[in-house]
């Protein structure tokens, strides 16, 4: 019997016209690992919630069609019964904990199921051992790292012995270290083969070898593609690309090469397959054709005057915690700098000092040659824009137009000029039709764009962004990065804090690596990825394609130092991905 059988499933949330899921048919096979893909708002999480009956039992929405778990209709089955068959690990490790200690968390579900206390001990031990947390039974959950939290979250489900495990973006809130922990965990589940796994994730290359089947949802909540990974990524690439579904870099590479008349056979979806296929394929000329495409070296604007940002021997302690340890850093004007490092390395603290949110001591941080500690906040906010990870935090008015106009009014500009400049900004960022809307009603990608617009309205020349592509689908992320590239080409200095190494390789001119509060490295991006010592100390990894190129370079030196898709083969349409749709918005 199929562990999960979905027939003509339709789900519509109260107050929404469009359904979140529209006619989904899906039958999972025992023991398979299924990757569930889809653009933002395509209903991936909604589908996950129907698998253990949280929809319709806990969330009020209209549901038609049927979901059968081990033959039982979820509508007719209590959540208690379903929770012993299907468990979900959610994205936010904090929000899924109820208690304070690891042990309490793991027994929580068992207690709810009225398991006799005598039986719990063994089940807790087994569940914790399975996730590699056997020695952590009595730790407090708030003292765990992000990766450990997700492991405990999984253990608390494993204790209930479900046959189906659903992971809904389990690594979205984690740094590269935590992400690797979670992937290793999924890999060990797969090895034991006892569970049917449904995985929603978009960091794909390091996972693809575990995936038996890919199901992609379309924008209208329908199944766009369903099949083995190779077939889906080979045959449905265009259908996946247009709504913005993330694809493995390997598959994108294969398509690029196919487009240049060099199809790879068999079509690779994992780095190993790509290595094998590319070693068989002689590829003169194409490799390295666009090596100079990624911007390198300081831009022309950097020579005149003071650098955009200069940090001299900055330290900062929070209580007894030394968060920044004598950091010195110079960001030339017009640079595109990526700040990378594990969680807790001090990236955000450093960036907050640059924007004056945290007040640096005297003579430690200079923006355009001015000492931040002596620059009034209002003056500084006209020079440096800071886009927070959660764009909602920055909204201070009730309408999109007022958001953009806010900084201009604060500058004391006449109302006519405020209106004119606001309209121009909204036009440029593709937000004109939302001028009167409340910022909170925008989509995630639009909120991001608005927060960037508000941070540039007063003519700020330096823009700092904390995880600008967090939680976005490929389309929105691509548009955001194209926008930043555009601003950078116009002379603005861009600083991004990110965990996404592909983004760093594709867009950043320089990279600063933080580790334990200190600056480990600052230099051209290309140099960073040639320094395995720095990367391993900062617990980072090069992007998937760079790792592939490094492996291939042992056989063919032409591969050495290649980092991105564009390095390997230029796209058929030379504009960067995402820019195609944005072009009309950018004057």
């Amino acid at each position: 019997m199929s562990p999960i059988e979905i027939q003509d499933l339709r789900v519509r949330y109260a107050g929404r016209k469009a359904p979140a899921l529209d006619g989904v048919d899906l039958a999972l096979n025992e023991g398979e690992t299924v990757l569930l893909l889809g653009a933002s708002g395509s209903g991936k999480s909604t589908l996950a919630l129907t698998l253990n009956g949280l929809i319709p039992h806990s969330l009020g929405c209209e549901m038609d069609g049927s979901v059968r778990v081990a033959g039982m209709d979820t509508r007719q089955t209590e959540v208690a019964g379903l929770s012993q068959r299907v468990g979900i690990v959610f994205q936010d490790p904090e929000a899924q904990f109820v208690t304070l200690k690891v042990e309490d968390e793991v027994v929580f579900g068992l207690e709810n199921l009225c398991v006799p206390p005598g039986d719990m001990d063994g089940r807790v031990d087994r569940a914790l051992a399975r996730v590699g947390m056997a020695g952590h039974r009595h730790r407090r959950v708030d003292a765990l790292s992000g990766g450990e939290k997700q492991r405990v979250a999984l253990a608390s489900l494993l204790a209930m012995e479900p046959r189906v495990l659903v992971f809904d973006e389990p690594t979205a809130n984690l740094d590269p270290v935590g992400t690797r922990e979670v992937f290793a965990l999924i890999s060990s589940l797969k090895e034991r083969g006892e569970h049917t796994v449904v995985l929603i994730e978009h960091k794909l290359d390091d996972l693809m070898h575990l995936i038996d089947r890919v199901v992609a949802l379309g924008e209208a909540g329908e199944v766009l593609a369903d099949g083995p990974p190779r077939a889906v990524f080979r045959d449905h690439a265009d259908a996946l690309r247009s709504p913005g579904v993330w694809m493995p870099q390997t598959a994108l590479l294969a398509h690029r090469m196919g487009g240049r008349g060099l199809p790879l056979d068999p079509f690779p979806v994992t780095p190993d397959e790509a290595e094998r296929a590319l070693r068989r394929q002689p590829i003169p000329k194409i490799v390295g054709a666009k090596r100079r495409r990624t911007p390198e070296g300081p831009p022309g604007t950097s020579v005149n005057g003071a650098p955009a940002i200069e940090v001299r021997d900055l330290s900062y302690a929070y209580g007894d915690d030394r968060v920044l340890d004598s950091v010195s850093l110079t960001v030339p004007r017009g640079d595109f700098l990526a700040v990378v490092g594990a969680n807790g390395a001090g990236k955000t603290t450093l960036a907050l000092h640059l924007a004056g949110v945290l007040r640096p001591p005297r003579d430690a941080v200079f923006v355009e040659g001015r000492d931040v500690s002596r620059t009034p906040a209002r003056d500084l906010s006209r020079r440096v824009g800071y886009v927070f990870q959660n764009p909602e935090h920055q909204f201070v008015t009730d309408s999109v137009a007022d958001e953009v106009g806010y900084g201009l009014r604060a500058m004391g500009l006449p109302e006519a000029e405020v209106a004119e400049r606001t309209a121009a900004m909204l036009e440029r960022f593709g937000l004109s039709r939302y001028a009167k809307a409340n910022p909170f009603t925008l989509s995630h990608g639009e909120k991001r764009r608005l927060s960037v617009a508000t941070m540039l309205a007063a003519g700020q020349q330096t823009l700092i962004l904390d995880e600008p592509t967090f939680g976005q689908d490929q389309k929105n992320a691509g548009e955001m990065m194209a926008l930043l590239r555009e601003l950078n080409a116009g002379g603005r200095t861009i600083v991004v804090i990110t965990h996404d190494m592909t983004l760093v390789a594709e867009h950043a001119r320089h990279a600063a690596v933080m580790s334990g509060g200190g600056l480990l490295f600052c230099g051209p991006t290309r140099e960073l990825f040639a320094r395995p010592d720095v990367l391993s100390r900062a617990r980072l990894e090069p992007p998937p394609l760079a790792r592939l190129a490094a492996r291939l370079s042992r056989h063919d030196p032409a591969w050495a130092g290649l980092l991105t898709l564009d390095d390997v083969a230029e796209p058929e349409d030379p504009r960067p991905e995402g820019a195609q749709r944005r072009a009309d918005l950018l004057p």
């Binding site: 919630l49 253990n52 949280l54 039992h57 806990s58 969330l59 209590e78 959540v79 208690a80 929770s83 468990g87 979900i88 959610f90 936010d92 929000a95 899924q96 904990f97 109820v98 208690t99 304070l100 200690k101 042990e103 309490d104 027994v107 929580f108 579900g109 068992l110 207690e111 709810n112 199921l113 009225c114 398991v115 206390p117 719990m120 001990d121 807790v124 708030d142 608390s156 489900l157 209930m160 924007a355 004056g356 949110v357 906040a377 209002r378 906010s381 824009g385 800071y386 927070f388 959660n390 909602e392 935090h393 920055q394 201070v396 806010y406 900084g407 604060a410 909170f440 508000t454 941070m455």
Partner: protein
């Protein structure tokens, strides 16, 4: 969730939380009713000694938590003599006059008594929080005192929210500072500011509450009217020992104070 709780593994921490409630509650009520300064003083010493010796709470940490609350008492001490009811100080010798204000000796004594009383109440409650894991307290309430478990665990989940809301508020304030908004100003500006903070804070809180609820439901929370408990909380002999011992010491203190003539009339028994 961060309370003042310090798990030192000492006697007080290993007690059933409810036995601490049982032990402290009569003392709390009694101290609330006394009018002399000596009884609260005695209970302050007793509570501090209990926390430091039986709870092995580090002295420095104890001072860090309990110290700032002393300021409250000092503040009370300064202002109370000026606002004390006239008939209470009638006939008392005048200590000094400050313009139109007259300070009587009785006023100072009343201030001292009231301030110490408040501090003793604070300290008694603090001794509970310093030595009690909130989860255990809720668990004990649910298991032994029949608090509906949905209410108890709901409260725990809300409790976990507090630090999240704190860090969220800090992030929002920082984000608004970047936009060039300054804090402070008149009441109107304060109201506007509050409104600006409230919307994003509420949006986050609602979203997170929903996620937590789903994670709980997904683990069969609320599936049955009853649930089992891995760790059963019971009253152990040491709990009986503690409650009995604490009551006895309290009683001895009160009797000693009474014998020394230091115990003032209780508020309830006072005739006005």
């Amino acid at each position: 969730m961060q309370t003042f709780y310090r798990d030192t593994g000492a006697f007080l921490q290993r007690l059933n939380p409810l036995s601490k409630v049982l032990a402290f509650f009569p003392a709390l009520v009694f101290v609330a009713l006394v009018t002399d300064p000596w009884t609260p003083l005695a209970f302050i010493v007793l509570t501090a000694a209990t926390v430091l010796v039986l709870g092995r709470v580090p002295f420095g940490y104890f001072l860090k938590v309990a110290g700032p609350l002393l300021l409250l008492v000092v503040g009370f001490l300064i202002f109370y003599p000026f606002v004390v009811r006239g008939e209470l100080v009638a006939g008392s010798p005048v200590l000094f006059t400050l313009g139109p204000l007259t300070v009587y000796e009785a006023g100072i004594l009343y201030a001292l008594a009231t301030a110490l009383r408040i501090y003793a109440l604070i300290l008694l409650s603090l001794s509970f929080t310093l030595t009690t894991d909130a989860t255990d307290f809720v668990r004990a309430l649910v298991q032994q005192w029949r608090l509906p478990y949905k209410v108890g665990y709901g409260a725990l989940a809300v409790f976990r929210f507090v630090p999240m809301l704190g860090s969220e508020l800090a992030a929002i304030r920082a984000a608004h500072r970047v936009r060039g908004l300054s804090e402070g100003g008149g009441p109107r500006a304060r109201y506007e500011q509050l409104k600006r903070y409230a919307v994003p804070l509420l949006a986050t809180a609602v979203r997170r509450a929903e996620r937590t609820a789903l994670a709980m439901d997904g683990r069969a929370f609320g599936a049955y009217p009853e649930r089992t408990y891995y760790r059963r909380l019971r009253f152990a002999p040491r709990d009986v020992l503690f409650v009995g011992g604490f009551w006895t010491v309290c009683l001895l203190i009160v009797l000693a104070l009474n014998a020394a003539g230091l115990l003032g009339p209780l508020v309830l028994l006072q005739t006005t």
